[in-house]
């Protein structure tokens, strides 16, 4: 099947996984919060886009104009109203509250939309492809998604390292108590962090739903894929998350080449191997495992 082809397809697949992971990485990096509902928010974004496209006739990518602000506000509100109160209680409250949110979203979507599978339709771009030397065909859409992932991570890097807000995020991530002593309002900052994370979650949700069918129960696997990309790449490093996504994608592509049913399993196995051999990931910045 050509190893080069597997490498390329797998790497491009890594783009969407990296996009899944960005939001999770942010909320862990800044708030030390592993959002169990993260995958469900990705799926929720897809459903919001579904409603918007059906209601306005916009195509999915254009619908982002509405979906992104909606998810931003939702993220801000949930952090401010709910999750901020869990941060001082130790391990259990954030985990169980986000778990509860996950169950509520899944069952809410089930009650609202039914268990039918859905897809968003963007048109010709979904199947367009370009040929490169070597007889390999690259899908335009996966290339686009990968490019979006790179741009997204690049923007976040700029935010974190070149702006005052990013400086505040990094300070709070280092030492939340001292950050407050510097005049930073942690509660607002956390809410803003989840809001921004939701922007990327929304983009990931819409982009994935164009190529993949989804239903209310599609959240958990997305969480797991995002989680695997973050762990493989190493906590605290956004570019590491991209590389983690690529490695995950390539592992899945290898598995898929052996047999289509092996795709997801191959990714899990690669993740577990890396976990056992190098638990802090490939490019860790923090050591908070």
């Amino acid at each position: 099947m050509g190893w080069l082809n597997i490498l390329i397809q797998g790497s491009l697949l890594g783009g969407i996984y990296a996009l899944f992971a960005v939001g999770l990485s942010m909320s862990f990096g800044i708030m030390r919060l592993v959002n169990i509902a993260h995958g469900d928010f990705i799926v929720l974004s897809a459903y919001v886009a579904l409603v918007v496209t059906q209601g306005t006739g916009l195509d999915p990518i254009s619908s982002l104009i509405i979906v992104v602000p909606v998810m931003f506000v939702l993220g801000y509100a949930i952090q401010r109203g709910l999750l901020n109160q869990t941060l001082s209680g130790g391990l259990l409250p954030p985990l169980l509250v986000t778990f509860g949110i996950s169950v509520i979203i899944q069952n809410g979507l089930l009650q609202g939309f039914g268990a039918y599978t859905q897809r968003l339709h963007e048109g010709a771009i979904e199947t367009a492809s370009v040929q490169i030397p070597g007889g390999i065909s690259i899908g335009v859409y996966p290339l686009l998604v990968f490019a979006v992932a790179v741009v997204a991570i690049g923007c976040l890097q700029l935010l974190f390292y070149r702006t005052g807000l990013g400086r505040a995020f990094r300070a709070v991530s280092d030492d939340a108590d001292t950050a407050e002593l510097m005049g930073i309002d942690n509660r607002k900052l956390y809410a803003l962090a989840l809001g921004i994370a939701m922007i990327f979650t929304a983009i990931a949700g819409v982009l994935f739903a164009i190529r993949t069918i989804f239903d209310p129960a599609a959240g958990p696997i997305r969480l797991i894929l995002a989680f695997e990309a973050v762990i493989i790449g190493g906590l605290g490093s956004l570019w590491g998350t991209l590389i983690g996504g690529v490695i995950l994608g390539v592992a899945q592509a290898v598995g898929s080449a052996l047999s289509p049913n092996w795709q997801i399993l191959a990714g899990h196995i690669a993740f577990l191997i890396i976990l056992i051999v190098r638990p802090s990931g490939l490019f860790p910045r923090t050591r908070d495992l």
Binding site: R167, A168, R170, S173, D174, E180, L181, G183, I184, N186
Partner: protein, 232 residues
Amino acid sequence: MSLLATKNLSAFYGDFQALFAINVSVEGGETVAIIGANGAGKTTFLRAVAGTLPTAAEMVTFDGEPIGHRTPHDIVRLGIAMVPEGRRLFPSLSVEENLLLGGHSERKGPWSLQRVYELFPRLRDLRHLPAPALSGGQQQMAAIGRALMANPRLLLCDELSLGLAPVVIRDIYQCLGAITAEGTTVVLVEQDINRALDASARFYCFQEGRLALTAPTKNFDRAAITAAYFGL
């Protein structure tokens, strides 16, 4: 009216009472020292003033305003800044980023990045290095500079001399003079009694959460201080 006044300030960590009805007042422009052994409640006192430890509103007043219940970031905006015990610079940030972060509250005043570098020239050379790369003394200077960037009216200094060599401590206390010359009020918490008393006009001695002694520092009998310090 005092700039800072605490009235029957009591503070608790859960069920444990760390401060018992502390009455302290600090006038504008003064430098006041708070001395006491480990566990005497000095850091707890500063945390109560800075807002990290919530207390009843009336127990701490700043310029007559009750602030005991206010959040730390609000208190910074009002004009109180802290140099925390152990420096607590942000390890992911460079020296300059740490200083800039100190200015987050955007209060107006005499201190700016330029002026902080004038006060601590060595920091300008080191400004792009990550904070953990600095020596203890340099980190202390950076921590002070970071607090100054908030243009505070009241500067709280928690154990400036902790873990530093005597010659470094001397340099730092010299800079303190330049700070108070701007009119900044300073509260110094120190275990090093001599440094603290030399730098301040008045002192308070804490002992196991209670106020054991307070007096002007000039010519005060050291034996009496020692007795109060150790609760003899």
